[in-house]
């Protein structure tokens, strides 16, 4: 059976990756699972310099979900290359690097740096983080800015570019098309959805950042709709995510048009999830007599 899929010029041995920000830099989960069985490892969002992130509390559990406002804490490009790249370079599966900036130039500069590094699988442009004031979702909710970011990164690198779209729009189709037209090789859908949780006893928001991004099983029906809408609008592959915790969930994303999927929040409670998804996917396709996962992709009867 063939599980391999293509994201631009990048081949994945199977369509199951892990979502940025939910898998650290790979090395942490290497103690618990065999990373080389994944489709790809996607690392936490990185900008040019180090980032402190938001004050805690940074996450809060809600009904069937999680709200986070980490604020993209990270070591910056140099720190990342020094601390984490040697390990990631040793993996047999590709590393996808999630990048961001507060200006178009910064996005492009980070892209150039990783292009120069060599050995990177792909770059994922995070234009959709709801938890930082500058950068992040401002680029993801304005088609023109979005196209500029993608185009600038396109000029900066020949690496496959994945644009991670914001779910927080009226209609995702024009954003999907804008990214495609500006040279993105793929889309990632969805990032977390702006949300709020309150502590009644203290009358305060539960997160220091006040608002955060909602993820986990509760958003899956929203994510499926967004992937379906985007898949109808573009030809480039889509990486679907949002609440995936089982092979069935993943297969739903594929059937509505995703070429690959990412497991996010579920890693936090069950680090085996991505591997279980791969195994369950194989089993399901076998049962259905489907030889190649790509036959399943986009095969919704609607």
């Amino acid at each position: 059976m063939n599980l391999a899929v293509q994201i631009g010029k990048l081949t994945l041995q199977n369509p199951v990756m892990v979502a940025s920000g939910t898998f650290g830099y790979g090395v942490e989960y290497a103690r618990l699972i065999d990373l080389n069985r994944l489709g790809a490892v996607v690392v936490k969002g990185i900008r040019l310099g180090p980032v402190r992130g938001n004050p805690p509390p940074r996450t809060v559990e809600v009904t069937s979900g999680l709200i986070n406002a980490i604020g993209l804490q990270g070591p910056g490009v140099d720190g990342f290359i020094e601390k984490y790249w040697p390990f990631l370079q040793g993996l047999k599966v590709p590393t996808i690097i999630n990048i961001w900036g507060t200006t178009v130039d910064e996005y492009a500069e980070v892209a150039r740096r990783f292009d120069a590094l060599g050995g990177v699988g792909a770059l994922e442009l995070n234009v959709s983080c709801p938890n930082i004031k500058e950068g992040g979702s401002q680029f993801g909710t304005d088609c023109k800015l979005l196209a500029e970011v993608v185009a600038a990164c396109r000029r900066a690198t020949t690496l496959p570019l994945i644009t991670k779209l914001s779910p927080n729009v009226v209609n995702i189709a024009p954003y999907a098309r804008a990214a495609e037209e500006a040279g993105s090789d793929a889309l990632a859908i969805m990032n977390s959805y702006p949300a709020l949780a309150i502590d009644l006893e203290t009358r305060r928001p539960k997160l220091a950042n006040v608002t955060g991004g909602l993820t986990g099983p509760c958003i899956k029906p929203i994510a499926l709709k967004l992937v379906w809408d985007a898949a109808k609008a573009v030809r480039i592959p889509i990486i679907g995510m949002g609440g995936i915790q089982s092979a069935a969930d993943a297969l739903e994303f594929l059937v509505v048009g995703a070429t690959a999927v990412a497991v996010g929040t579920a890693n936090f409670y069950e680090p085996q999830t991505a591997l279980e998804v791969i195994a369950g996917m194989r089993e399901f396709l076998q049962r259905k007599g489907i030889e190649d996962v790509r036959e399943w992709t986009g095969s919704l009867r609607a």
Binding site: R31, D34, G53, P56, T59, Q73, T265, F268
Partner: protein, 266 residues
């Protein structure tokens, strides 16, 4: 897979008993985890029957005996509530042992001073057991029911000094009072190890700082992944360059008191 001494296992509950007040002791059989445990480390527990919440819950590893380890916990919310109704034979999923624990004193070190509030005792037991030198443990709580494991610490040959805020057991007042008295007698060269509510840890940190003493504090922060990937559990920690957020689940839960930044917005 890298080494690193942490495993994910689905483990059966062997015993589960009510302690005082809302506290419970729960032991699981986890033969390949127990040899790895260091004092002050924790287990990240997936309470399998808990369906209304997603995340694991962290608990200090309390005691280790052969193939079993136990936790000592208080039922405070939805997770521990469901946990408290589980029976022997039912299973939990644990990732353990996690975090950087206490530095176990070496033979010849001065008599260690332990300071515990509430379930903080759970994080300190293994340290007391493995320390070559018996010391003193200061235990504080709101009421008599919050004073745990006194007999066990005494059985290890440790001296136990109890305080309760309502005076229902031991001296009335805060746990730091007898500690300060003890340090007035002698503080040079001694080291503090503390686990408990943040207010208590801050007080212990200050006491140590004022006297130029070393202190290790086990910080209680909300966790999500427990393994260092999500960056939920951070506290501000001093570095040569100023300060940075470090992970309680990886760089901690035990931190050198001198490194902890206490201001809420540093």
């Amino acid at each position: 897979m890298l080494g690193g001494g942490v495993l994910e296992r689905t483990v059966p509950i062997l015993t589960h008993e009510r302690d005082t007040g809302g506290y419970f002791r729960l032991a699981v059989r986890a033969p390949d985890i127990t040899p790895l445990v260091q004092p002050g480390q924790f287990a990240h527990v997936r309470i399998l029957p808990l369906k209304s919440a997603l995340l694991r819950r962290p608990f200090s590893i309390f005691q280790v005996a052969g193939e079993t380890f136990s936790i000592l916990y208080k039922a405070v919310g939805q997770g521990t509530e469901v946990l408290s109704r589980m029976r022997p034979g039912e299973e939990l999923n644990v990732i353990a042992p996690l975090g950087r624990g206490f530095t176990v004193p070496r033979a010849g070190d001065s008599r260690p001073l332990l300071v515990a509030g509430g379930y903080g005792m759970a994080a300190l037991y293994l340290l007391a057991q493995r320390a070559p030198e018996k010391g003193i443990v200061f235990v504080g709580g709101r009421r008599r029911q919050d004073i745990l494991c006194v007999d066990e610490f005494r059985a290890l040959g440790w001296e136990v000094r109890i305080t309760t805020e309502d005076g229902s057991l031991g001296e009335p007042g805060l746990v730091t009072q007898p500690l300060v008295e003890e340090l007035r007698r002698e503080s040079a060269g001694r080291k503090l190890f503390a686990c408990g509510p943040t207010g208590m840890l801050r007080a212990v940190g200050r006491i140590a700082e004022e006297r130029g003493m070393a202190a290790e504090l086990s910080m209680d922060e909300h966790m999500c992944c427990g393994v260092g990937v999500c960056l939920t559990c951070v506290i501000p920690v001093k570095t040569s360059a100023g300060w940075e957020y470090q992970r309680t689940c990886m760089e901690g839960p035990v931190f050198d008191a001198r490194q902890v930044v206490w201001e809420t917005d540093p």
